[in-house]
Structure formats: C-alpha cells, structure tokens
C-alpha cells in the first residue's frame, strides 16, 4: 500500500479531534438558546435579527466544521459558494419581482 499512488487518505488529509467538534456543538446550543431568547423577547426587530444573523451563523458552523468544508480544497469551497450564490440570486430575484410589482 505504501507505494500506491492512490493513497487511502487522498482528499482527507486532516484529522480534527473530538474537542473541536464538541466546542462547535456547545456554540450551536448557545446560539439556539440566544435565538429562542431573542424570539420570545417580544420585539419583532430582535426576532428578525435572530433570524437573519444567528440562524445563518448556526448553518455556517455546521457547514464549515461538521461538513468539514473548512478543511476541503479551494475548488470545493468555490463550488459551495457558487451553489449558495445561485440560491441567493433565485431568492433575491423572486422577492424583487414581488416587491416592485
């Protein structure tokens, strides 16, 4: 195996320990508590802040750490960025059409 050109770990160069993921999990739980707190505070602005800031932050933590994107190749990062950009354009254009109709 040692002289094989297709190393079994090709594409998985980095092993992240348990600790990092446990910290991310604690952060996710804390952000959830904050989100619930803001939403139940009774202010629509705070609830909107929670939706527009905390929710994407939580999704990013899952994406970058749990889905390992942080440690992936630049090419894959660009692919994910393009896919998300398509989604943003799709959502943005639909809402623009709706708001300026």
């Amino acid at each position: 195996m040692s002289n094989s050109t297709t190393k079994p770990d090709a594409g998985h160069p980095h092993i992240v320990g348990y600790g990092t993921f446990i910290k991310v999990w604690i952060a996710l739980l804390a952000l959830t508590a904050l989100l619930v707190g803001l939403s139940l505070a009774g202010s629509p602005n705070l609830a909107l802040l929670g939706l527009l800031v905390i929710t994407p932050t939580k999704a990013s933590l899952v994406l970058f750490y749990f889905m390992h994107l942080k440690y992936e190749s630049t090419a894959l990062k660009y692919m994910v960025a393009i896919a998300l950009a398509v989604l943003v354009i799709f959502v943005g254009l639909t809402f623009t059409d709706y708001l300026f109709r």
């Binding site: 996710l28 739980l29 899952v62």
Partner: protein
C-alpha cells in the same frame, strides 16, 4: 503475483469524486428546500398577521427540544467519523448508534406533535382549518409540507445510517475506507441545516 495481485489489493477508489458527487446532491437539496423557503417568504409577506397568529399554536418547547436532539445527533455523527479515522471502532459504533437513536427520537417527537395538531383539527383540508383565514391555512399547509419533507429526509437518514452501522460492524467501513460514512454524514448535516432554518420560521415566528 505483482501486477494482478497488486491491482486486486488496491481496487480503484476515487474519494474526491465520491465526495464531490455527494456535494452536488446536497446542492440539489438546497435548491429543493430553497424553493419552499421562497414560497414561505412570499406567503408570509402577503399574510403577516395570519402567519404570526398561526405560529403561536405550534409547540415551541417541542421545536426547541427537537433542535437540541438534531444538533446533538450531528455531533455524534461527526465524532463517529473521527473515531473511525482514529481506528476506534467501538467508539465509532457507539457514536453512530447514538445518531440513529437521536434520529428516531426526533421522529418520535414529530409524530406526537403532528398527532396533537391533527387531534385539534389542524390538518390540510380539515373543516376547522378551512374556516380560518387564508393566511393561517397557508401557514399550516407549509408547516405540514416543509416539516413533512424534512421528516421524510430524517427517516431516509435513519435508514441510511443504520446501513452504515452494519457496514461499520462488518469492517466494510475502516480508517482507510470511510467515504461512505463521510457522505452519509454530509446528508445528515444537511438535514440538520434545514431544521436550523425551520425552527425560527415556524416555531419561533410568533
């Protein structure tokens, strides 16, 4: 010995390709749910008060509980991959098994949540719901549609991870061959991300 045995000993594997394929599938899922989120956004901006009122009838406690369950299952999922890579099979099985159990707990909670709603006459097309304003009907339609499609994904994930558990047990998933587990993990985390958005849009929208 050399050529044939060698090619037999190292079967063709394309980890980068396998992972890329899974990511492309994840993108299609994002667009699928993205469309539903757009529908939600449109209808909510048309009927803000009805949505606000209808969301007040959802069980916040249950929604938050299920969030914690799913976030924890994502943690055990990723820890099982780390354990496989560190060649700790026992721990990997424990973590993966916990993920499956937590997925089942999520579905169990979902079942009771829906059961209570249906018991109160709140389901698409019910007499009780049809008598309500159009915005509330839309809210519950989207609620059943989106959490239902998400629940279907959780069900598929539980089956998929159970298969992975069997493969792990039989050493078909090892420290030098674990892309199946990694791709299943990508799917499971995607399901988690979708729920992260469903929580504030439905349960906390009141």
């Amino acid at each position: 010995m050399s050529a044939e045995a060698d090619s037999h000993a190292t079967p063709h594997r394309d980890y980068i390709g396998a992972k890329l394929g899974m990511w492309i599938f994840v993108f299609t899922e994002l667009i699928l749910f993205g469309g539903l989120f757009v529908a939600y956004g449109m209808y909510r901006s048309m009927h803000p008060h009805d949505f606000h009122k209808a969301a007040g009838e959802l069980n916040v406690r249950l929604g938050v509980t299920n969030t914690v369950v799913l976030l924890t299952s994502s943690l055990t999922m990723v820890l099982s991959i780390v354990a496989v890579r560190l060649q700790r099979k026992g721990q990997a099985m424990l973590f993966l098994g916990s993920t499956v159990v937590l997925g089942c707990v999520f579905l169990f909670n979902k079942f009771f949540e829906w059961k209570a709603k249906i018991h109160h006459g709140l389901y698409p097309g019910s007499e009780h719901l049809m008598a309500r304003p159009p915005g509330e009907r839309l809210f519950f339609g989207l609620y059943y549609g989106m959490t239902g499609l998400h629940g279907l994904h959780v069900t598929v994930g539980v089956v998929l991870l159970s298969v992975m558990f069997a493969l792990l047990r039989r050493d078909k998933i090892r420290h030098d061959d674990f892309v199946k587990l990694e791709n299943s993990g990508l799917y499971w985390h995607l399901v988690d991300i979708i729920w992260i958005f469903l929580l504030p849009l439905f349960y906390l929208a009141a």
